[in-house]
Symmetry: C2
Subunit: 365 residues, 2 copies
């Protein structure tokens, strides 16, 4: 009796939160994941299978109104094959660009979006010229499959670059100038049918060991907000995109510098469930099925705290006034994202006080 | 991998919204319903069976941390039997009182809660004395199984009471004085472990043909709010209650008059999903598993519009700025509650303007 059906490649926590956002709208989600007990499979129909298995993708797409993704590291060929018989959003070309740090850099350059200077590394012979070109310190990043700080090494001394590349498996990479930055912010936009656009306010992110730890939103700076919106609009339009798109930026002395694109809902947008009029998850689904986009306005100041390793006792977290808990249903494992908590308050100072209490509660066992 | 498991007797839209509120908290719900395609069964584990089938109730309760209800017309004996082996909230005695209009009236009287004068009707011989005792017009109400205006007749002329009772099947009933009222408001409270209490603000309800049509919240009147909170607290404490409790009131020239109790989450509390810090569904589950209660504060002025008969096109509803849609996944049927929409706005006048637009959109086909 659902009005629409959407297939989602991936059954992690993003798929879970998409599925939960879909039910009230009358959108039933079906997820594809190798793990039967995955977070998404606990709350929605699951097609068990590998994300690049053509037969499993066919089963995922059978009878759905559209297919989308909750993880960008999927085989683009599989998405392209599906796109010949069912709408696939975001467009596979956008997913391909976001999978490859070189393509991403070229996209930023083509659209005039500031990004760190970089050089391409295909063979060992490219290493020394790259050091000369981008300068030191630099960050050596594999072009593919990097996330949460994996697949990269900071190089401070030219003599170390060979070892760093060896540690990364000598795969195709880029060398990128390491930029001193003041903050990391992310911008989330959504594009719907007929080019409809909506933007969430910038959010400020704090990482620990490469993993997102805390998001505070909105990060209020009208000039930066306008810039980010213009750049995200350019990316969205280039691909005739539908759905949510996230860009992570460094805020340097010279302004915003684009770091990377996620062609999907994003951890730094989890605050929107309680903190914005319409969550990133609901807006992604609205966009994918072609419905009007929802209001992206914040409901106050919001803080999102990732829960890593294991979910603390709910009693402790929920005893913090106004705290909301999101448990992804995952078994504990060190550094794994197993849930998050959110706080919303009209007053930013009071929010920060409550966040301190929430951190203490989240550290309890 | 859920932290807690809760069994819910009933799989309608209230069970569906409870289950959806449970997932983020790490609470998995299992529902009991006769209909495999029921709204709740579309989003959570379903035990198929009648609500009074002891074997089905056993299957529902197997391995859960607590059992609760989403409909009050369940066999109290079944709940009492379950309560011997698993926590059942609200307590079966509270459910029993809410099932019987006579017990409800006696409860109001015992706790000093204003209610309309009434007389008990067991046989035809009670009809004429009841007219003399409560006066005309009166409302003849079956003691059991009445909801959404069913099981009752307004009697304006003493000569009509016999026919009215016959139309109701001559079952045990009460005759209640018909009170001229200005508004209908409802009060929703939640009681948790160790007597923790939280109250939502009063909401104003508009009914059409006995069925709730629109709720506006908060209905701001500090005196009435204090009175309602005192009375709900008295009911909750009398039963050592856990979970959400709703009382519907008439607002008459002489103040609040209690109409009826619902020992559960309530249609007039659906606005709390977007309109309050913590929804009635989340707070009910927190109470039932013994976790701290969530903040009941409103996020602004909220309007809830029931969708009756059939869900209008989502495109039309969602085109209203800020509109949220809740589709219960039910097949269309005249006058059936198939979904609801919500709006929240800091400004009440603007909310009412947007509500007019939402009504127009909801009437589209």
């Amino acid at each position: 009796m659902s009005a629409k059906k959407v297939g989602i490649v991936g059954g992690g926590q993003l798929g879970r939160m998409l599925a939960l956002a879909g039910y009230p709208l009358g959108i039933a989600c079906r997820l594809l994941d190798r793990e039967p007990g995955c977070p998404g499979g606990q709350v929605a129909e699951l097609v068990p299978g590998a994300l690049d298995d053509p037969a499993a993708l066919e089963r995922l797409a059978d009878g759905v109104d559209a297919v989308t993704i909750e993880i960008e590291n999927v085989a683009v060929e599989g998405l392209e094959a599906l796109a010949r018989r069912v709408p696939v959003y975001p467009p596979p070309a956008a997913v391909a660009a976001a999978q490859d740090r070189l393509a991403e850099k070229e996209l930023f350059a083509a659209l005039g979006i500031p990004a760190a200077p970089f050089a391409r590394i295909d063979t060992g012979a490219d290493l020394a010229p790259a050091v000369r070109e981008v300068g030191l310190p630099l960050v050596l990043k594999l072009r593919r499959m990097g996330y949460d700080g994996r697949g990269q090494r900071v190089v401070r001394d030219a003599a170390d670059i060979g070892r760093a590349w060896a540690e990364l498996g000598e795969g195709p990479a880029i060398a990128e100038r390491w930029l001193p930055f003041e903050r990391e912010v992310s911008s989330i936009a959504v594009r719907g049918a007929e080019g409809a656009l909506a933007f969430y306010p910038l959010a400020e992110n704090t990482h620990h060991g490469g993993i997102l730890h805390t998001t505070l939103a909105p990060y209020e700076d009208a000039t930066l907000q306008r810039q980010a919106e213009r750049w995200l609009a350019a990316i969205l339009e280039r691909f005739d995109y539908r759905g949510v798109l996230t860009v992570e930026f460094f805020l340097t002395r010279d302004g915003l510098v684009a770091n990377e694109i996620a062609p999907r809902v994003h951890n730094s947008g989890h605050w929107t469930i309680e903190g914005a009029e319409t969550s990133q998850f609901e807006n992604h689904l609205r966009a994918v099925v072609g419905w009007p986009l929802g209001d992206t306005r914040p409901r106050g100041h919001a803080a999102m705290l990732n829960l890593l390793g294991r979910v603390p006792p709910a009693e402790a977290v929920l005893a913090v006034p106004g705290a909301h808990l999101h448990d992804y249903g995952k078994p504990p494992r060190p550094e794994r994202k197993v849930g998050h908590c959110t706080l919303v308050d009209p007053d930013r100072d009071r929010l920060l006080e409550r966040l301190a209490a929430l951190r203490a509660a989240a550290a309890s066992t």
